[in-house]
């Protein structure tokens, strides 16, 4: 079915309308030389969003309906390649149009899901010990603009043991795109990477397509038995593009201009993370920048309700408060018997340290207990929180006990006596 229409009724933002018959919702069309898809049907009035933007589209441009929904090519040939949000090559390589698969497919039947069970080791104590990353998890990094979130993302990507990396870049600065490309090339990981990149100067509609393209491809590779890690940066730009489109379509905004279905829109992407029984898995690590460091901003807020925790990046460190991996319980019971208790105990003491620090900054006298806490907090921050620390989990736990023993008496830690008997470092003889 290739009907051609040459009278465009209206052009608002990146949305055009045309009178046409027999068009299906979400079908693909060509408007001039750009792709577009159907986002609303009202009688014979069809609204289309133009991927390349409606700038320069004239009322007499040809609109051709292709009769198929948006698709992306899927094959081994994708590896090492870079594409735009609408699937056009961005690296000068050939266009791929074999084995096309639909994007934005149905969600996985919950009855077919399995309990995530494999830890992903990163060598970062704040992740491995305190908020363990688990295969098939969906986790965003909450961060303020200017924090080294892309660096952290790249580091986790390279150290994590996965078969395949799919990078979805949304509203990326061109420099950041080059940073990812160069880092991955340097580490030799480019050969197992696929990139879908929307840079800040590209059309808005393409930004909203990036996660769907990246996830559709990743899902296929996972079904084919690969362990896939999808990196999405930055989801706030994705949400802002949705907002822009929604306002163009005259939708009633719900909260700070964002559309009412923001939660569902984000969820349908993040929920693609899955561990397929008998096949591969898909893990999503995203970045959500928080405008004004405000975690109650609609984007981080909705994200937090969807994802299985978050890493809170602040002042170049992963903060223990606010950071959370909801799946850690699934794996940290099998690491070492003291893992959980030590994790909780150390965080409780770190919280007490923060209180003492506040008291100190207000000029109060420090008690003996406060001084102990202050010493502990400093050691904790220097030896465990610093992002440059790169040690395996077991070493990090031993280090934790050492720090506790340096600062406290056993009964001050709030840990169970049996555990203290077993793990408390013995004082060296003659000391």
């Amino acid at each position: 079915m290739q009907k051609v229409y040459t009278k465009i009724e209206s052009i608002v933002g990146d949305v055009i309308t045309v009178r046409a018959q027999g068009v299906r919702y979400q079908d693909l069309a060509m408007v001039g030389k750009s792709y577009a898809n159907v986002i609303k049907l009202d009688g014979d009035l069809v609204s289309l969003q133009v991927f390349a933007g409606a700038k320069g589209v004239s009322t007499t441009d040809e609109v051709r309906f292709l009769g198929v929904p948006m698709k992306v090519s899927y094959s081994e040939n994708l590896l090492g390649r870079v594409f735009t949000g609408s699937g056009k090559p961005m690296d000068g390589g050939p266009e791929l149009d074999e084995n096309m698969i639909e994007i934005g497919g149905p969600s996985v039947n919950p009855a077919k899901r399995i309990i995530p069970r494999n830890m992903i080791r990163t060598g970062i104590p704040m992740i491995d010990v305190f908020n363990t990353l688990v295969e098939s998890q969906k986790l965003p990094i909450f961060s303020v603009s200017g924090e080294p979130y892309n660096q952290l993302l790249a580091r986790i990507a390279m150290q994590a043991e996965v078969d395949l990396i799919v990078l979805g870049g949304m509203g990326l600065k061109y420099d950041d795109y080059l940073f990812f490309r160069d880092t991955l090339e340097k580490s030799g990981a480019m050969g197992r990477t696929i990139m879908f990149i929307h840079t800040a100067s590209d059309p808005t509609v393409e930004c909203t397509l990036v996660p769907d393209m990246a996830l559709a491809v990743a899902e296929r590779f996972a079904l084919d038995g690969k362990k896939v890690l999808v990196l999405l940066t930055d989801m706030t730009n994705f949400a802002d593009s949705l907002k822009e489109m929604a306002i163009t379509m005259d939708q009633v905004p719900s909260n700070r201009g964002y559309p009412g279905d923001l939660y569902s829109q984000l969820a349908s992407r993040y929920e693609k993370a899955v561990d397929f029984e008998g096949a591969g898995s898909l893990t999503i690590l995203g970045v959500t920048t928080m405008p004004g460091d405000d975690v109650t901003h609609p984007v981080p807020d909705n994200t937090g309700y969807i994802t299985e925790g978050q890493y809170y990046l602040k002042n170049g460190r992963i903060e223990p408060f606010g950071s959370l991996s909801r799946l850690k319980q699934n794996v940290n019971k099998d690491t070492r018997d003291d893992h959980r208790a030590l994790m909780d105990g150390m965080i409780k003491l770190y919280a007490a340290y923060k209180d003492s620090l506040e008291k100190k900054s207000m000029g109060f006298m420090m008690t003996e207990w406060d001084n102990k806490l202050l010493k502990y907090g400093k050691l904790f921050e220097d030896k465990l929180m610093d992002l440059s620390v790169n040690i395996p989990l077991e070493d990090a736990l031993d280090l934790g006990w050492k720090i506790l023993a340096e600062c406290f008496e056993p009964n001050e830690t709030g840990l169970k006596s049996s555990l203290i008997m077993e793990r408390w470092p013995k004082k060296p003889e003659g000391n």
Partner: protein, 579 residues
């Protein structure tokens, strides 16, 4: 009435506008025919010859002119034996069956029979010639440990029906005819073990509604002792993300002292449902000796599943709850999260271009939420037995701010409020229910006077803590400091509970009373502690002992040992005990 047909004239997301002929009803179900698949939808607005339908599936590929088939029935669920242990989506599609048929993904337009095709041992309870009314028992079948009543379909007219024939004791298929009833005019109707009921209509076939005055034991100390919930009552758990709403619901679903638990996972993470799915068949319910799954129904419409079915999922769940209540059972419905359901309403309201209320939620938000919670209740059935549906809903307020419309609308209608606090969860104080902000109007397991006294210490301790932040520890008197330490002890060793510890995760009421007695003694004692250092040491030791005590079984000899150690430590410092 002949079934109507219509044609699609507009598509906007999951809202489809249909031009129809003849008459259709609001909330009537219709199917949009797209190629070979039929997509289920519900009429939510009618204007002239156009109806707006919310479609429970993705609407990709729907075209103007597609045919719509109306079925002249409101959105309904099938009720009958075999519902227990099932896992349904929001439209009562059995998910494991769907997985067997369609594989990993949820294929749209596939609707399977929700009632498993099984044979049941039927025992009649009436004989030919008996007069029965809707909701009366025709016979029973054993479903797991329960006696499942096969009742006169609730949808029959409220008139005396005469039993014309009834099946003899024996094994029958769930869809086999087991009785024929006739109305006074002689019109006969056949009954099987299954009938359907529209989800949005409450089932009210009981003699009277009673006040919820019996504590529902959850085995969670802070709830049973301080913030109790009641059988037939309602409660809500608002909290920011990461504060432990779902973990708390999960603990409750395992431990709650009720007959049947219905979990409605509404618009939340799929992973959380999976935990329940995989764990419950393994866990043994100490009360019945069977697996927890045998008392559980799961309705799940997770966040990536079609939005419109979210709304139906909570109604599907509560309708099943009311159905089992009609059998004299106590049912607990856990809805996680009602905010997602409210958001689904908001999305649809936006597409209908209704005038938005606060935060773009529709103006009818409050009345819809109130009507839902009102479906809970403790009732006396016509046979005199007492049964209940308890509803506990989580709320996910935007930004963790309880002032938002969904939380406020919910607080108006519930009997207990368990507010989770980010502050407490950040400090790993679980369950992160805020002991001072939360409230309950239901009776607990411990004498309310003593609970109030303990609560007063928490209040006072909190005040002193606030003051200490201003004037410093050195500016606080030893007496005040001791009160502060007492409140911290109560918090650490009683309010907090380790859900991963096999012993501490579920505490029976007797043990709670026992531990509370001793805790109460410590709280009410005058302590001979001369300075703050001595006080801190004493309370550190006390806390350690209580924590160890919480970790041992009551029949373990160490239980008594630790207890006497606590008493000893207490009497070493207590000058005179109050009372």
């Amino acid at each position: 009435m002949e079934n109507n047909k219509g044609r699609v004239v507009g598509v906007n997301g999951n809202m489809v506008t249909v031009q129809f002929q003849g008459s259709i009803a609001k909330n009537e179900v219709g199917y949009i025919v797209v190629g070979k698949t039929k997509l289920k939808g519900e009429v939510i607005k009618i204007r002239g010859d156009r109806a707006d339908m919310q479609v429970f599936e993705m609407t990709n590929g729907v075209a103007v002119g597609d045919e719509v088939e109306f079925v002249s029935e409101m959105l309904s669920v099938e009720l009958g034996p075999g519902l227990l242990t099932q896992i349904y989506d929001g439209l009562q599609n059995p998910l494991p069956d769907l997985a067997r048929q369609c594989g990993f993904f949820l294929q749209r337009g596939v609707y399977l029979d929700p009632i498993p095709d099984l044979d049941w041992d039927f025992t009649p309870a009436v004989k030919s010639g008996d007069i029965v009314y809707p909701g009366d028992t025709l016979g029973t079948v054993p479903e797991g440990v329960f006696t499942h009543r096969i009742m006169v379909p609730f949808g029959f007219d409220q008139i005396p029906w005469t039993v014309k024939s009834i099946a003899a004791k024996g094994k029958y298929n769930v869809r086999a005819e087991i009785a024929v009833l006739s109305d006074p005019k002689g019109n006969e109707k056949k009954c099987t073990m299954v009938f359907s009921w529209p989800v949005k209509r409450p089932i009210k076939l009981y003699k009277q509604r009673l006040r919820p005055d019996e504590t529902l034991i959850t085995k969670i100390r802070i709830i049973d002792t301080f913030l109790p919930i009641a059988k037939g009552g309602t409660y809500c758990i608002p909290g920011p993300f990461g504060a432990g709403k779902t973990v708390l619901q999960h603990m409750t679903s395992r431990n709650a002292d009720v007959d049947i638990v219905i979990i409605a996972a509404c618009g939340e993470r799929a992973g959380e449902v999976v935990e329940t799915l995989k764990e419950f068949p393994e866990l043994i319910d100490p009360k019945t000796g069977r697996t927890l799954m045998e008392r559980t129904i799961i309705i799940c419409n997770t966040s990536s599943m079609p939005v419109a079915a979210r709304e139906s999922s909570v109604y599907t769940a509560v309708t099943m709850g009311e159905y089992y209540r009609q059998m004299g059972l106590n049912v607990l419905l856990l809805a996680d999260s009602t905010s997602r359901w409210a958001q689904a309403m908001r999305e649809m309201s936006g597409r209908l271009e209704e005038i938005p209320g606060e935060e773009a939620f529709p103006a009818y938000l409050e009345s819809v939420i109130a009507a839902f919670y009102e479906r809970a209740g403790k009732v006396q059935l016509k046979d005199g037995s007492i049964a209940s549906v308890t509803i506990g809903g989580t709320v996910s307020p935007a930004g963790g701010n309880f002032e938002e419309p969904v939380t406020q609308a919910t607080l108006k209608v519930v009997g207990a409020f368990h507010g989770l606090s980010r502050e407490r969860s950040d400090a790993r104080k679980y369950p992160a229910i805020h002991p001072l902000d939360s409230w309950s109007k239901y009776p607990g397991i411990i004498d309310s006077k003593r609970v109030e006294e303990a609560r007063a210490i928490l209040f006072r301790g909190n005040e002193i803590n606030q003051m200490m932040k201003v004037v410093g520890e050195e500016g606080t008197s030893v007496e005040d400091y001791i009160v502060y330490q007492k409140s911290e002890l109560l918090d650490a060793a009683y309010l907090q509970q380790n859900s991963f510890d096999p012993v501490d995760s579920a505490v029976l009421p007797d043990r709670q009373k026992h531990v509370f007695d001793l805790m109460y003694r410590v709280l009410m004692s005058n302590l001979n502690l001369n300075d703050k250092k001595a006080a801190r040491q004493f309370f550190n030791e006390m806390r350690q002992k209580f924590l160890d005590w919480n970790g041992v079984q009551t029949d373990d000899p160490r239980f008594a040992e630790t207890e006497s150690a606590i008493v000893q430590l207490l009497s070493s410092k207590a000058s005179k005990e109050a009372r």
